[in-house]
Structures are given as C-alpha cells and as structure tokens.
C-alpha cells in the first residue's frame, strides 16, 4: 500500500481510538500486567517468590512433553505447509484460468467448523474405519490410528488441510506483486525456467516468506481445536500439545504455573514478532 504523507498531527484521532483502547486495556492489558505480577508470586500465600514458578514450569514433566511435541509439530508442519502451498501457488500462477476453482476449493476448509468433521474423523481413523479398510484391501494392517503414534501425523495432515488455502492466497499475492517486466527481461536474456525461479521468483518472494511463516506459526496454535474435539483432554502422548497442558492446568486452577507459562509463551511470540519486523525493515 502507498505511503501517505499528510496525516496531520492531531490529538482528535484519540477520540476515535479511545473507546476501543479502553476496552482493550480493561480486558487484556491490565489483566495481563496482573498475570506478569502473579507469575512471580506463590500460589497460596501471594508472596514474592522470584523465578521459582518459572523453574517449576521448566522442570515439569508434562510441560517438557508438551513443549517437545509442540516444537516437533511446528517444525514438521510449517515447512510442509509453506512448501506445498508455494508449489501449488506456482502452478496456479502459471494457469490463471483454472486458478479460481482451486482457490475456492482450498479455502473451503477454512470455513468448515471442526465440530462438523468430527464424525468423519472417527469413521476414517477408527480401528475398523475406512482408512483401515483401505489399508487392509491393499494388503496392510489396520490400526486404531488415533491411539497410536500416527495420531501426531493425523494432526499434521489436518493442519495442512485447514491452512493450505490461506497460504496459497498469500503466495499468490506475493507472485502477482512481482513486476512481469522482470520475468520478461530475464526470458529475453535467455534464462531458463529454473534459473528464473531461483534467481528472480524466490528472492522476490522473500518478504512474503517472512509473513507467511509468522502467520502459519500463529495459526498452528489453532490446531488444538481439531485435537481437542477429536481426542479430548488427554490424547495420545504424541499429540499432547502445550494447549492441552494449559487447559489441564486451568482446570486445576494452577494459576502460578499458568501465569509463568503464559508469560513465557508471550515472550517467545513477542521475540518472533520483533524478528519479523526487523526482517521487514531490512528489506526496505
């Protein structure tokens, strides 16, 4: 979007923002400040305990398992999603006549509420379900998929399913933003398809890559919805994520641990956002 010059220094802008800011302060900013304070206090006596809540969190076995799974999940599904969506976006970009149908198709999962596919999931992944039936018919062995290490991969698949369209739209926006003149010039100079891809398309897509990475990361937290509705509070250990842990601590009202963990996650995400802004500014 274009830069504007003549926004006026004018405090009356605050009148437009004030109602929203008041709500944001009451519902998020002040209570979160309180959470930071609580993360340094004992659960029972409200005494200052320094970093001991943080130490408890780090040494907690469930936290380690959940953090490990969450990192593994993100480490696997984000490159898969980003790569696959780029591949499809490139195909669609070269065939704009057919792109519309596929864009619609891949965006549909974004609209599909998790609750409406729970049943399908059970029919697919049950021990006697459709997946087992198919595997047996080609000579394999059926399995109770959701209660096996496969549960993790099913979660990865459902993340891809849900977010593919979103990322394709973002990649396409990045591709459309590259000036056709550059491609034209390269082709005139005799560059091949792969040369053009490595030397022109990819470097020009770098800013998109940063954004897409961050948005994919943040959307990956929402995979809890699928995980929860399908497998409940205590799923197979391979897909026990930080989100489950938060839920379970919340049910036990372990406010001390929860506060510390919330602050930790907020710090990690805040750090990522700063990194991203830095990357953006360097690109300028």
């Amino acid at each position: 979007m274009k830069k504007r010059k003549s926004t006026r220094t004018d405090f009356s802008g605050l009148w437009f923002i004030a109602p929203s800011l008041a709500g944001v302060s009451i519902f998020v900013l002040f209570p979160f400040a309180d959470v930071i304070r609580r993360s340094f206090m004992g659960a029972m006596n409200s005494q200052f305990v320094g970093f001991s809540n943080y130490l408890t969190v780090f040494s907690n076995e469930a936290f380690r398992l959940a953090a490990k799974n969450t990192l593994r999940f993100m480490g696997i599904c984000m490159p898969l999603l980003i790569g696959l969506s780029l591949l499809i976006a490139l195909v669609l970009f070269s065939r704009m006549q057919q792109a519309g149908f596929f864009k619609t198709t891949f965006l549909i999962p974004m609209a599909v509420p998790v609750a409406s596919v729970v049943l399908l999931w059970r029919v697919l992944f049950h021990r006697n379900g459709l997946l087992s039936a198919w595997i047996v018919s080609i000579g394999g062995q059926g399995s109770d998929w959701m209660n096996s290490p496969w549960a993790f991969w099913i979660l990865v698949m459902s993340y891809l399913w849900k977010n593919l369209g979103y990322d394709i739209i973002l990649w396409l926006a990045g591709l459309v933003g590259i000036s056709p003149a550059i491609f034209e010039a390269a082709r005139v100079d005799g560059a091949g398809t792969f040369q053009i891809f490595w030397k022109i398309t990819l470097p020009n897509l770098l800013p998109s890559l940063y954004t897409i990475t961050v948005l994919s990361f943040l959307n990956s937290f929402k995979v809890f919805r699928e995980a929860y509705l399908v497998a409940g509070d205590y799923p197979h250990t391979s897909m026990y994520l930080l989100q489950h842990l938060f839920n379970n601590w919340f049910r036990d009202l372990s406010m001390d641990k929860l506060s510390a963990a919330a602050v930790l996650i907020a710090l990690v995400i805040f750090g990522l956002i700063l990194l991203l802004r830095r990357a953006w500014e360097e690109k300028e």
Partner: protein, 280 residues
C-alpha cells in the same frame, strides 16, 4: 494436451481431500438409519469387519433432518447460542473497531506508532497466552459462565482494527481534504467518506470474524461451565448407531451458515487474508 494439464495434477489430487469430506457429510446426512448402520456398524457398534461408504445414498431421505428438528431441542439451543454470540461479537467489533481503525489510519499523534504496535502484538497472541488474564478479569466482573464473558473480550480483539486500518489507509488524501475544504467536520468525514470507502475492509473483517467465531472452541470451553450456554461449535454428537444420521444432519446444519458466508464473501475473505499480511 497432456503437457498442458499435467502440472494441475497435484492441485486436483489435493482438492479431492476437500470435496470428499463435504460429499461424505452431505450424502451421509441423507441416508436412512438402515443404510448408515450397514455402512458404519463396524465403527459404531465395534462389530467385526470394516466400515464402508457409498458417496451417494441409495435411498435418500430427509428423515435425519426431521428428527433433528423434532427430537433434539438442545441442538437448537446451541444453534441460537452460536447465532447470538457470533452476531453480538461482530456488531461490537464494528462499533468499536471501525472508529479505532480510522483513528489510526487518518491521524497522527505522539505515541501512535507504539500504540499501534501494541495492537499488532495483541492481534498475534494465541488464546492460550491471554487465557489466565481473561479468566481473572471475567472473574472480577462476575462474567464467568455468561455469554457476555465470551462476547466482551472478543469485541475488543484488535484483529478487525488492523484489517480495517489497512483499507482506510488506501482512502486518498485528496478526497478527505476536499471534503474538509467544503466544511465537513471530522466525524462527518468519517461517516460520509471513511465508512463508504472502507466498506470492503469492514466486510473483510466481518467475513473473517464470522468464520472465526462460528468455529469458536477455546473460549466457550474455558469460560462456560453451563452447557446450555454452549455454542454449536462444541456440539459433540452422540454417535451411537441409531443416531449417526442425526449427527450427520447436525454437522451439515453447523457447516451450512459458514459455507454460505464463505461463498458470498470469498473475495472479501481473500482481500482480508492479504490485508493482514502485507507490510506497510
């Protein structure tokens, strides 16, 4: 010919993964109990053998929908809960978010940059980060276990502010300046120029918001203990064999509003996704 369509093989294969589940739900919801039992008995009753599926029902019937309508009052309570929650949240987001977006887009005052950064950071925080703080504030105001406890924090989500802001930035200065020369006040400019020209942005925020809140799971699960207040997104169908048809019909009814909004608003959805990502 082959060469021309070959690259489309991958997207075409993947789109099966989208269309088959939709067909599964739609077809299944029109099957009679006998047909469903025959297909799904190995899963639902743990009998021997494997489930099977026909994409189209052999004996289509609307009975599951009729039964859903007549025998499942709690389903409709949840449906209306969803309508109420989603509607109230979206209306609130527009009332508070649109002026805020205009304020950020059109005015310059000291500290604006920092304040806007705070908004962006908040928009990017997942639910789990603000879970405890929301609990504390809802507890303070005795809003736990009420619909307002879900609606109010969502109304002050900063995401719609950011989306609408992006569109307001695109309103040309010249239009605003000429209106001001004609003697229009700040609020007149906002209502008569800002809102009409920013309408696509507002629509984008509404479409994205609808899809998000119609599928809301974390907030009601955490803050509503009374199940009569739960929205449809938490409806976990009881899938005993004789109720599978009901469950499928319920899934379709849950899906339908989201698909309608999607089909109507797809271009807004795409604009919104892009707006949320493009850096300034």
């Amino acid at each position: 010919m082959m060469k021309k369509y070959f690259p489309l093989f991958l997207p075409a294969a993947l789109s099966l993964a989208v269309w088959l589940p939709v067909l599964f739900l739609a077809g299944g919801s029109l099957m009679g109990t006998a047909e469903l039992t025959k297909n799904l008995s190995p899963v639902l009753n743990e009998t021997y053998g494997y489930a099977s599926w026909d994409l189209l029902p052999h004996f289509p019937t609307l009975r599951p929908y009729v039964r859903l309508l007549l025998d499942q009052p709690q389903f409709f309570v949840m449906f209306w809960n969803s309508v109420k929650l989603t509607g109230a949240i979206l209306i609130g987001q527009i009332i508070f978010g649109v002026p805020a977006a205009w304020g950020f887009a059109q005015f310059d005052f000291p500290g604006k940059k920092y304040l806007f950064t705070v908004y962006i950071v908040l928009m990017l925080m997942p639910f789990q980060v603000t879970m405890v703080s929301s609990y504390l504030v809802l507890d303070q105001f005795s809003l736990l276990d009420t619909h307002w406890g879900i609606i109010l924090p969502a109304v002050f989500s900063t995401f719609p502010v950011f989306i609408i802001y992006r569109f307001f930035r695109g309103v040309p200065c010249a239009v605003i300046e000429s209106a001001q020369l004609d003697g229009a006040g700040k609020w007149q400019v906002f209502f008569h120029i800002g809102i009409p020209l920013g309408m696509p942005g507002i629509m984008s925020a509404i479409v994205l918001g609808f899809l998000e809140y119609w599928n809301m799971i974390e907030q009601p699960l955490t803050f509503l203990r009374d199940k009569t207040l739960w929205p449809l997104s938490l409806y976990l169908p009881d899938i005993a064999a004789d109720k599978a048809g009901l469950a499928l019909a319920a899934s379709v009814v849950t899906l339908a509003p989201a698909i309608l909004v999607f089909l109507y608003g797809q271009s807004y959805l795409e604009q919104g996704i892009i707006a949320a990502s493009v850096k300034e």
